[in-house]
Symmetry: C2
Subunit: 151 residues, 2 copies
């Protein structure tokens, strides 16, 4: 009650750019050229990597100054909330939570709409809400590490 932040255990968020047309790699190169971005981590989509010639980028983490930007290829299986992502110019905010279910519930109680139920996949435990101002928040479990991505 006294400390709402403690209640939901939200650690912080990073903007995530979802790029259509297999252009995440081009976006990464652009941010390096335009803003001197450093790539600190990259995770390829494990399934698509095996099935397709071109590995899709699940998440490339860029550092620009002291800030982080995530860049991802858009997958077809993100379809249920695809329109929201497109409408949002491709940017969503990826929020790390200690308890994803609790954070989702609190957001919905405050007026957000669920656009992606809580699931667990190669990206960890995560759900997605759209807030009343059109911003899509991916709420993801804290501490999901991708060992193959640690350089």
């Amino acid at each position: 009650m006294a400390d709402e932040t403690a209640t939901t255990g939200l650690l912080g968020f990073k903007p995530q750019l979802v790029v259509p047309g297999m252009n995440a790699e081009a976006a990464v190169q652009f941010y390096k050229a335009a803003f001197g971005a450093k790539e600190v981590r990259r995770v390829a989509h494990p399934k698509r990597k095996a099935e397709q010639e071109l590995p899709l980028i699940l998440s490339a983490e860029l550092k620009i100054g002291s800030s982080f930007l995530l860049v991802s290829d858009r997958f077809d299986d993100a379809g249920e909330d695809g329109s929201a992502v497109s409408r949002g110019g491709g940017i969503l905010l990826r929020l790390e939570a200690e308890d994803v279910d609790a954070a989702m519930k609190k957001a919905v109680t405050a007026g957000a709409e669920i656009v992606g139920q809580v699931t667990e996949d190669e990206d960890g435990v995560h759900g997605k809400v759209r807030d009343p101002f059109g911003v899509v928040w991916a709420i993801a479990a804290v501490g999901k590490k991708c060992p193959e991505a640690e350089a």
Copy 2:
């Protein structure tokens, strides 16, 4: 050449949500309720404050976990890039640069398009580009302080 980041002197960026319909205050209240956001700074629009009953929010800075989100009312005089902001679901990325002109030039050379020429107003020195992936970046001078907003 060896260190592109040093060349442009980019310190980092914060996502900025531009809210139409005078609803920035409602957005601030939502983020407090939904994510336990703390308001760490607020700057009202100095001109509008005098002219209108309801002071427009030039920038409210919220802290969610360890991250910062800027929330602003959308002004009519942001019209030249208004369509981009709308299309972007209201989110742009506000990048702090030591040299705004140099940072704008570098971004344009890399493929970005200028959607707001460099100007100096109550918000400091700033310009705006849209990158090839639809993201609008407000590039602003570092260290512009708003003394009245320091609590």
